[in-house]
Symmetry: C2
């Protein structure tokens, strides 16, 4: 930054909350990319013309909100983007070697978004969206079947080219090709049974019990940029939650 | 405290880590009960004969470890004990009014702990433990069936008296009757199907798909004081996970 950025709290807003909002805007604008260090407290305080104590409270608020993380003795960093691949943590497959699953795109289509998908992605119903069907495999065995909806035109770079070149992880691809960083995701777990086509893709009998994980992924600005449904064998489902 | 408690770091241990261990020992010993405020930083620094900055780093470490929480403008508090009842958050039952489920103890027995339960609870195999079978109901409808193992003699106060007097929540009961505060729990979610007796208790057909939540609950000192298995209708299972 070249010049002093003075903070104007809105009525009823504290000075440090207004400062936190200003810092958040700098993160969202890409001034400090995910994973990078932000400047020292003293530098930031001088840039915004505030006392060091006010800057510290603003940084504490951003830490609580999950935008930055403070690492003892190393500094303060913008939270790294999610790398994807984490849906597998819901399942116990294979030999437990922790190997990353391979990815195979079964279909890629541009379609009018169904009402629920449109609502989730903040689009008008029937507006065009990209739908991916993806199979994930461990040791050549199919384990997860995914239906992924992405809003257009944000993801139009993925409407072209050969999906075989995409690699196994989508989130790094979203960042490289579309400039979209996944900051946060919400997964909702349920159980159901497989339809005939789903069962065929997963090499399981039709009607077999399945776990269903519905994901909404959000960018730094808080927009939902992905609606995903993942299906896998219910008998392989296994998830650990810590409560404090 | 009546006198200065000087900190002696162990070889290789930093001064603030030794200080954090000393504060943790005061919490575990019950000097500040769960949910209570701890003294001001300055007071604690004086009690332990350390600089304010060292005390702040020790308190940051205890916050990261989940023993205390700092509330903006209010102070620093020992994390409140878990209140229980939280297993219901895995299921979507009834009218969504958020009412607490009723509790019915179906059986209470003192039995030799099976090998796996003994291992979990840190007991010798075959040592006596208390086994509870408990049904949880919403609007008089059975929704969860629980098998709960508790170590003896820690929980011997629950081996006597009428369970009908226990109320609907176990963790406040653990605190009142046995002096056990549940600080942390780990739930592992899996999928299965109901045996005949389980199905009857839950008013579902035998073989019906069920979600199975296995809980280990820990006290402040980190000892596992409860091993619980909860079963419920897989079709009512619904759990949301936030990933940042």
């Amino acid at each position: 930054m070249d010049r002093l950025q003075l903070i104007q709290p809105e009525p009823g807003q504290s000075r440090y909350a207004a400062l936190a909002a200003a810092l958040r805007a700098r993160i969202v604008a890409g001034e400090w990319p995910p994973g990078s260090a932000i400047p020292a407290e003293q530098t930031l305080a001088a840039e915004h013309g505030v006392a060091l104590g006010t800057m510290r409270r603003a940084l504490e608020l951003l830490t609580e909100q999950g935008f930055i993380e403070r690492v003892h003795g190393r500094g303060t960093f913008v939270k790294p983007a999610l790398s994807g691949g984490s849906l597998l943590r819901f399942f116990r497959f294979g030999d437990g070697s922790g190997q990353a699953p391979a990815s195979r795109i079964l279909a890629r289509e541009t379609l009018p978004a169904p009402a629920e998908v449109a609502r989730t992605l903040g689009m008008g119903p029937g507006e065009p969206a990209l739908r991916l069907r993806r199979l994930r495999l461990l040791a050549q065995q199919p384990c997860l079947l995914e239906e992924i909806w992405l809003p257009l035109p944000l993801f139009e770079a993925l409407a072209e080219g050969d999906p075989a070149d995409w690699g196994d992880l989508l989130y790094p691809l979203f960042a490289q090709r579309c400039g979209v960083h996944v900051h946060r995701a919400v997964d909702t777990i349920g159980f159901g049974s497989l339809g005939a086509e789903q069962a065929r893709a997963l090499a399981l009998p039709p009607g077999h019990p399945c776990a269903r994980v519905q994901r909404q992924a959000f960018d730094l600005a808080g927009h939902c940029i992905e609606a995903r449904t993942t299906l896998g064998d219910a008998n392989a489902f296994h998830y650990t939650v810590s409560i404090t």
